[in-house]
Symmetry: C2
Subunit: 299 residues, 2 copies
């Protein structure tokens, strides 16, 4: 597919891409870079790439496809370090969960020679780091690509094929639509999960121990999401703060209405909310986005 592929950032996402590339044997050469020594050591030990680049400019040299899979806050520095070393005709893409800001950085820094195609694989687990990665992380999950209108179809097609080779389904969507949808399906749920944990942790010590003990009543589900990578999520919340605050406001408005129904003991209204939720879950399972096994099939 590509002669040489570079992966910058080898955490959960980057190392999963490396593992799948190795499994597929689809690239002639795979170069990797991570600014953490301990991460690079794991990549080396697990033999996940053909070359561990010593720095960012070496990481992109001669590469046909460059994927940036780092937290948002390092994006600008990385682009600054690689923008003059990109191979003519190469494709530059990323995995960030917010697209407006990375797009603005690319516009501001004016990359040369390479075609920029923003990407976001909607996949992941609560674990982070290279040991958490696995080759099937993207299997049957969606990847969203948000190229500018002037990007050639052939370049988009190559990027689509790359993600399809990862097992992913691909959807093309504008940056604006992407950021709005993801603020609802991913960012808002993370805010809420963090906040429910924050709320119950505000209890006294004795109560806190009981809360841990009886968390199987529902709470434990939220704690999984709230265990996601802190740096990544700090960056996302700061970067997409406008849309996330809009989503929080919508949530609060809805919660006030819900609270009113509970206060007024409005059976009909409550049943209506719950029945609709049940239908929504069914639609998600039907769309292949979750297992239908009770409790997610966990033991």
């Amino acid at each position: 597919m590509f002669d040489q592929v570079s992966i910058i950032g080898c955490g959960l996402i980057g190392s999963s891409v490396l593992r799948r590339l190795k499994k597929n044997k689809s690239a002639k050469k795979v170069v990797s870079y991570d600014n953490s020594k301990s991460v690079s050591e794991i990549v080396k030990k697990e033999n996940l790439s053909d070359q561990l680049a010593a720095n960012l400019s070496e990481a992109v040299k001669n590469s046909d496809f460059i994927l940036i899979a780092t937290p948002l806050s390092s994006f600008e520095n990385i682009i600054n370090s690689i923008k003059d070393n990109l191979k003519p005709g190469s494709i530059l893409t990323d995995t960030c969960s917010v697209k407006t800001s990375v797009n603005n950085i690319i516009r501001k820094l004016k990359i040369k020679n390479s075609t920029w195609i923003p990407g976001h694989p909607v996949a992941g687990t609560e674990n982070s780091g290279p040991n958490a990665g696995f080759p099937d992380l993207f299997q049957d999950r969606w990847t969203i690509l948000s190229p500018d209108k002037n990007v050639k179809d052939a370049e988009i097609k190559k990027t689509v094929l790359f993600w399809e080779s990862m097992g992913s389904k691909v959807k093309i969507m504008s940056v604006e639509d992407h950021d709005k949808i993801i603020s609802l399906t991913s960012h808002l749920p993370h805010v809420i999960a963090y906040n429910i944990v924050k709320t119950v942790m505000g209890s006294d010590e004795k109560t806190k121990n009981d809360i841990i003990r009886y968390s199987a009543g529902g709470l434990r589900d939220f704690t999984r999401i709230a265990a996601s990578d802190p740096t990544m999520w700090k960056d996302i919340f700061i970067d997409n703060s406008g849309l996330i605050i809009d989503a929080i406001d919508k949530f609060s408005e809805s919660l006030d209405e819900f609270k009113k129904a509970i206060k007024e003991k409005n059976s009909e209204k409550l049943l209506q909310i719950f029945e609709k939720s049940k239908e929504f879950r069914k639609a998600i399972i039907k769309a292949g986005q979750d297992t239908d096994k009770p409790d997610f099939g966990r033991k």
Copy 2:
């Protein structure tokens, strides 16, 4: 253990108890009752009880241990129908998720002959009905018992042994403590899960389809909880409305503080929240309340 056990209500919880009793062969005779014909047919077809009682007074006749596993709203009617037919020396217990109100009903209706020991197995899945039950539902989960102070130890001990025979761990706790803790570990998470689904469903049709498609970014976890039995949860929200509204208010207060940190792009504050959440998840896993497999081990 008991010569005769009666299970009233044969949904997820009741049918799981019936299945475990059958597996254990610990009672000489198991009687069951459900006011739904279709539920009773499944109990009969699956051969889950020795006798399907024709009515509530027949259901409790000669029984040494009576477990009520129905939605809260039917509790008063059931007690009214059985209170004069209870066997002297028998134990009456339940599985309701709120204890103050059932306790008040018992006090008001003055049951005769039987010892009342309120109980709550903190276990369940998002599915409901007798087909959703399984014998290991209570395995390694906690059951909370909240007997009055004047209840004899021997009666409590028998009830503890019953739940231990279900595979459960048992904790004795006051009604007040129970309702407070469960409002945080179970009721609040359900409110929030329902509300996040309610919030995103408020979007237009096109957006809604995208939301289903990209729900794997976090949202799908919430939809599982929000698919729980509507009648049961309607009853709980109405019954425990005071404590649930307190919990919602605490949640909203915490959310305002969180929103402020996002608005002010306060990295330090955000990182602090996320790191603490990660620790809390670890404590829950350490306490044996959840799996440590990423994504709950779901496929």
